[in-house]
Symmetry: C2
Subunit: 388 residues, 2 copies
């Protein structure tokens, strides 16, 4: 697949410039096919320790009132907590890309992902950026998707075909509001004709329905960024259909991220229903999804519903212990607050799958929400105890 | 040590009645030496899925206006999420103990700890409670402290000698507001003469300064309970000194709990200073202490300060990336938001210790707070992935 360059009007590339010692690709480029600036939008981390590239991309979108012609992305170093030097490096990445691509520096957006607090080896980018811009093509989407990756084990792409337009997307990492250290980056292209505010509206809505419903470990990255560009090549589109397209690729990528969560063996979809409101359901579902103990029980393939119910009880939402029910897949393990006899073989069959739905019914109202998460495993610890 | 029976006026015992398959002691009794009801107070979990014994102990303290003559505690089963039958069992535990001890059922407080959602095998308690009450003695404090334990690897006791009084204490588990599944229980005795409201005041203050500053995994148990009884045998005491006594035994036990945190290899004291207020410092310190990624880095003996700073940035408190500094022990690893050259051998020496102080200075104000926590390890996962 070469999803990001499937919509008309885009070119991309991915190359190795030396940021990753492994020799894997580590620099991606995405641009319009004619160098023209098009409608663009972004959703960024709320972390106050926002990385230099986040600050620069935000400033550029403001300066252009929502136009961009290119995106330059490095993996292997987050350029976060790097002070004024880091900020200058992020600006210089845009300047170098703009020089090669023959656009204005403000029309270039920039992202970085990798470890925090380590100065960017800028000489590698100085020689690498001309290389990646020169390598751009209509078939370069797959290479661009690979060069984004850090601890990911698979590239992540998604496509949506509308009646008269296409949406393509690529991503790396784990989550938006609560990702793991590896940062979540996602890029969306479409050939639909949209205004800058139209792109922003569709993107913000889609992020709220996808990446913001995904949590791996409750931590929020310094670099999280989702960017979208609309070339306009396909002309006007139905606003409902374009929203469905943005929602579809974002939800697809969110599930791919969970499936590839660091060291995880399970993707768990925690659904809370019967809450007093959708908001309370989301709070309760997130409390379950972020609980270390519950995550360990999934890894152990245990139907330990008592701890799931206890997390809801501790989450602060309206809760009656005598009304709560818990089901693993279709198997009810607790009803009205006490253990329910159930088929243990059915639990074992359920846990043989990668994706595990767990439903907590509070029995109080019509509020419901879903949060996607992963289990907590020995391999997660191995990946995150590193000395660097 | 036999801490809980060191203050004048108390007897205790611990026996095995069969709740633990291991054959380890699993039923504790604590009472006044003459069966008289004395001033008593409690601090309980805020979890809405409060276990049956929590509900019963609260009701009894209300009914007696803060008097109690005995406490009965079982380990091996939490009697939580057990419905009306569980509630009847907790009441029956008090009734049986009262019958043997010749006091009123309302003068008995009750605690349980172990797995959630499993019916209590009550026949074992019916035969066991007379046994444990009969076994009570002035030297029984150590046995009582052992029979509380679940996944603990060591018994936890503390003593404070005032000028004319003594405070003794015993505990099991990990934390108050945010303990691990094994529940936190603590019991304090003193021979000081205090009113029921005087005991409650000293206890609430001490818990806020100790157990509520300890977090192992951010989860809140259904059974957490701290109880205190004051026999009055030593007469009137200085109010400042008795508070110091309660604070001392609670802080001592909190550190013992962290040192014995499930599967942990490090006790980490996260200090945030330079915050806009003490409250903001506590929010930031807790965000660092509860972060899975940061906990893994401690296990890996890594000085990965970038992730520590990122957690503070995500915590919502006032934060300027250019002012933040981070130190491991006395070793400054970041100053003014960027990496600081430091002695790696000093970091290695620091990590050879069990207790690791980490200081984050926000450079904004005079607010400060400390949270005690542990690292996240393979052994933690092993202990919590169980199929039960």
């Amino acid at each position: 697949m070469s999803a990001i360059t499937t919509p008309d009007g885009f070119v991309a590339a991915g190359v190795h410039v030396g940021l990753k010692e492994s020799g894997d690709p580590d620099l991606s480029f995405l641009g319009t096919d004619d160098g023209r600036a098009v409608s663009a939008a972004g959703v960024f981390t709320a972390n106050k320790l926002a990385a230099a590239p986040v600050q620069v991309s935000k400033a550029h979108l403001t300066a252009t009132a929502g136009l961009a012609s290119a995106v330059i992305v490095n993996s292997g170093n987050a350029n976060a907590a790097t002070g004024p030097t880091g900020l200058a490096h992020a600006q210089d990445m845009c300047r170098l890309a703009a020089h090669e691509f023959r656009c204005q520096p403000e029309e270039v957006l920039v992202c970085s992902t990798g470890l925090i607090g380590i100065p960017l080896p800028f000489d590698l980018l100085e020689s690498g950026i001309p290389k990646v811009v020169a390598a751009r093509s209509r078939r370069g989407g797959g290479d661009a998707a690979v060069a984004l990756l850090t601890t990911d084990t698979a590239r992540k792409e998604a496509l949506f075909s509308g009646s008269n337009f296409t949406v393509g997307a690529m991503a790396k990492g784990s989550a938006m509001l609560e990702p793991n250290m590896a940062t979540m980056l996602a890029f969306i292209t479409t050939d639909a004709a949209l205004s800058p505010s139209g792109v922003q509206r569709a993107l913000t809505t889609a992020v709220g329905r996808s990446f913001n419903r995904l949590t791996v470990d409750g931590a929020q990255s310094t670099n999280d960024t989702v960017l979208a560009l609309a070339s306009g090549a396909a002309g006007d589109v139905d606003p409902v259909e374009i929203q469905a397209g943005f929602d579809s690729v974002c939800q697809d990528l969110a599930l791919q991220m969970a499936d590839d969560g660091e060291g995880s063996t399970k993707t768990v979809i925690v659904r809370v229903q019967g809450a007093r409101s959708d908001e309370e359901a989301a709070v309760a579902a997130r409390a379950v999804a972020n609980c270390q103990l519950v995550k360990c029980s999934w890894y152990g393939q245990s139907p330990y519903w008592g701890r799931v119910a206890a997390q809801v009880g501790a989450s602060g939402v309206a809760f009656d212990p005598d009304l709560v029910s818990v089901a693993y897949g279709g198997v009810v393990t607790a009803r009205n607050g006490v253990a329910a006899p159930h088929d243990e073989a059915a639990i074992s069959r359920l846990y043989a799958e990668r994706r595990i739905p767990i439903t907590v019914d509070l029995g109080l109202g019509a509020g419901h929400a879903e949060i996607i998460t992963t289990d907590l495993t020995h391999a997660y610890i191995d990946e995150n105890m590193g000395k660097s």
